[in-house]
């Protein structure tokens, strides 16, 4: 394995960006990530992005992204119709082959022009599930019920996650939801999708994120303290919610074990939980202990959820804390699909 590090991270997230299209939204984020990396744009070996056509409402959402990249002369480039965390994985693989030494990775999406929760229903089995039109939140609520039923956790446990997220998010300039809230106050909110309240559901967000990866000596040259990727693994599980145990995440557990998540201290973890109960399921699957690990210090996706880059943001948040010297070793997680069907775990370390 080649040593590969995150050498820069930039992101943008707002509750509603009505004045820019996707390309315009990406431009400043890419510029910041590239400038911060210290690697000239033309020297970046590979470009990979993640986006979703159905968010943009037309085919080929990623094509206009090339305008923001400034892909001239032509670039080595690819795209995944997945969260950009998987674009980072593809770029990491390209660096592992030895073909390139660096890569620009980005993801973007605007949730405000459409109805995100209904759009995500289109991910479901078109023959057996979609005709019922459960929304993304309906599916999550099913999982939340299964989780609470299985282990005696209560709605108060969910509210504690939501309250901590909002409090942590006060230090995050990109948070679209942050406040000094008390668990008791959150519990007074009405339940909208049993057992979930608004505070348990990630806020609608428009945004983009970018990361520059570099291998070995190049990373050391451009960064005083690179955030090295020590393990990155992902797994998918069955699609139909009825054929798996929704109270647990087998795929997150398997990815975490393969990536070596718990084979050392975990100072900090950023989990791509779009719902309060997902954080609890993931923490359990990854063997994280809140007493020893600072979980979602940014506030996580419950504070800002730029769909298609929210997983990549988790990797960036951990990398930034390592580069800043706040943490030595951290775990980032990204998810895709209904009820945490697919999960990625990325373990990052300082020198």
């Amino acid at each position: 394995m080649r040593d590969v590090a995150v050498v820069s991270f930039a992101c943008n997230a707002v509750a509603r960006d009505a004045s820019h299209n996707e390309t315009e939204m990406i431009v400043p984020v890419l510029r910041e990530a590239i400038e911060q990396s210290g690697i000239p744009r033309g020297d970046l070996g590979f470009v990979c992005s993640g986006s979703l056509d159905y968010l943009q409402g037309g085919p080929f959402a990623f094509v206009a992204g090339l305008d923001a990249v400034g892909a001239w002369p032509p670039v080595r480039e690819s795209h995944v119709e997945m969260d950009a965390a998987w674009a980072l994985y593809e770029a990491w693989v390209a660096i592992q082959t030895g073909e390139v030494d660096s890569a620009l990775v980005y993801g973007f999406g605007k949730s405000t022009p459409g109805d995100l929760h209904e759009i995500m229903s289109l991910q479901l089995d078109p023959y057996y599930l979609l005709p019922l039109w459960p929304s993304m939140v309906d599916m999550a609520a099913l999982q939340a019920c299964a989780f609470l039923d299985s282990n005696g956790a209560t709605e108060k446990d969910l509210a504690e996650v939501a309250a901590r997220s909002q409090r942590n998010a006060r230090g995050n300039p990109r948070a679209v939801r942050s406040a000094d809230v008390a668990v008791e106050d959150l519990l007074k909110q009405p339940v909208t999708h049993h057992p979930l309240r608004d505070a348990d559901i990630a806020p609608i967000t428009d945004g983009a994120a970018a990361i520059v990866l570099a291998a070995g000596d190049l990373a050391r040259k451009v960064t005083a303290r690179p955030a090295w990727i020590r393990g990155i693994e992902h797994r998918i599980e069955a699609h139909a919610p009825g054929v798996r145990d929704l109270a647990r995440s087998e795929s997150a557990k398997a990815a975490g074990a393969a990536a070596g998540a718990t084979s050392g201290n975990v100072d900090v973890a950023e989990l791509h939980a779009q719902f309060s109960h997902e954080e609890l399921i993931l923490a359990e699957a990854l063997g994280l202990d809140a007493a020893q690990t600072d979980i979602n210090p940014s506030g996580g996706a419950l504070a800002a959820n730029p769909v298609m880059s929210a997983g990549l943001v988790r990797i960036g948040e951990i990398a930034q804390r390592i580069t800043n010297g706040v943490a030595d070793r951290g775990v980032a997680h990204a998810a895709s699909g209904p009820c945490l069907q697919q999960n990625m775990v990325c373990v990052l370390e300082g020198e």
């Binding site: 943009q56 990623f62 690819s78 997945m82 082959t97 599980e237």
Partner: protein
């Protein structure tokens, strides 16, 4: 090529039809994947990771369909990725899968690409009006016809050249039982008399709209050596992209295509593509794209492509057969069409192309795919000998 050696150890392909009403989307991809596994002498349990590709989700109305297809493709408990790079996606998906092996991460990777176009109408799926963008409402043919006219103007090619390709590829498809179009009595007159869609393209100059899937099992050197049958070694692979529109961009013969070809030829040690390859499967969705890509890919000088086509050099019995399978003009499950090109050349160098097998001399062949506004390119070179 960077990294460890990689070989195609199994290939599977569905029968392509206007509407495969006998299978669901899951059934379609599984049909191709099962055939590839059987060919490789493997079972689902042998596969380490799955990489799936297809063109826009709006063609079937399923967003991020890898989630729904995870079970059908035996991916449960494994890594799975979904690639989408427009029309080049079948090629890009093959390359992303091959890199997982080249990087030393996996031994056996299953890669699948599909489109079930009967679920929608691709021309309108491509023509959604977007805010702040000029609506083309023209589909792919309306986009590419002006580029073809520009090529005709530049090269002085006579109007019948495209029709020659339309006839040649449909005659080739008669030897391919899986091809969508079988038109036994096709000739120049039939193409010329078919109705005009987008000048100069007539109905028979254009690819069909197909349901179909392609699958390959890619293996490491160790896996290749233990394979039950012949394998196709990957000698080079490359991708290039450029933006859709800017001043001075040559949309007729894009720089990204030239750069991608140069890269893949360098990796594979190709100096003269016309002489060095035994055949090529090139993404030709509109007949005129054969002469245009002949030039872009360096099989002849600029302006000479149409002469090569006219001479019969690219026919199955010519010196450099292009699309002996019948090509995209005969089967077009869009998201799979690139992988069909990549897989067909693998079958050729394995000597497994059946009635459309070309004569093997160098044992090397080129697979090509492109997409978007002629701006995304993916290519690979495969050979029957292990690369140095």
């Amino acid at each position: 090529m960077a990294g460890e050696r990689v070989a195609v150890v199994g290939v599977g392909q569905t029968v392509h039809r206007t509407a495969r009403k006998d299978v669901s989307m899951a059934g379609l991809v599984r049909e191709a994947a099962q055939e590839a596994l059987d060919d490789a002498g493997m079972t689902w349990a042998d596969i380490d990771a799955v990489v799936i590709g297809k063109a826009p989700d709006m063609f079937e109305g399923v967003a991020m369909p890898e989630l729904y297809l995870a079970d059908a493709l035996g991916a449960v408990g494994k890594p799975m990725m979904r690639v989408h790079t427009a029309g080049s996606v079948g090629g890009s998906t093959s390359i992303v899968a091959a890199k997982l092996v080249a990087a030393g991460l996996h031994q056996r990777v299953l890669t699948v690409a599909y489109e079930k176009q009967s679920e929608s109408n691709a021309t309108w799926g491509l023509s959604v009006p977007m805010p702040f963008a000029a609506p083309l409402v023209a589909g792919a043919g309306g986009y590419f016809a002006p580029l073809i006219r520009a090529y005709m103007y530049r090269s002085g090619a006579p109007r019948y050249i495209g029709h020659l390709v339309a006839v040649k590829d449909r005659l080739a498809a008669l030897r391919n039982p899986k091809a969508h179009l079988h038109i036994p009595d096709i000739d120049l007159k039939m193409v010329e008399e078919s109705f005009l869609l987008w000048d100069p393209l007539r109905y028979l100059d254009v690819c069909p709209s197909s349901d179909g899937a392609m699958a390959m099992v890619l293996g490491s050197e160790k896996v290749a050596q233990a394979a039950p049958g012949p394998v196709a070694w990957i000698h080079g692979m490359a991708m290039r992209s450029e933006p859709t529109m800017f001043a001075r961009r040559d949309q007729v013969s894009p720089q990204a295509g030239k750069d991608c070809a140069k890269d893949v030829y360098t990796q594979a040690g190709i100096n003269d593509p016309r002489a060095d390859f035994d055949c090529a499967e090139v993404y030709v969705p509109f007949s005129w794209y054969e002469p245009m890509w002949l030039e872009n890919l360096g099989f002849c000088a600029e302006g000479e492509g149409w002469k090569l086509t006219e001479s019969g050099a690219t026919a199955p019995d010519g010196d450099i057969p292009w699309n002996p399978s019948g090509g995209v003009l005969s089967s077009n499950p869009i998201g799979a069409s690139g992988m069909v090109r990549f897989g067909e050349v693998a079958q050729q160098v394995r000597g497994r192309a059946g009635d459309y097998q070309v004569e093997l001399k160098s044992g090397l062949a080129l697979g090509h795919a492109y997409g978007g506004g002629s701006q995304f390119f993916s290519m690979w070179v495969v050979g029957n000998k292990k690369p140095a």
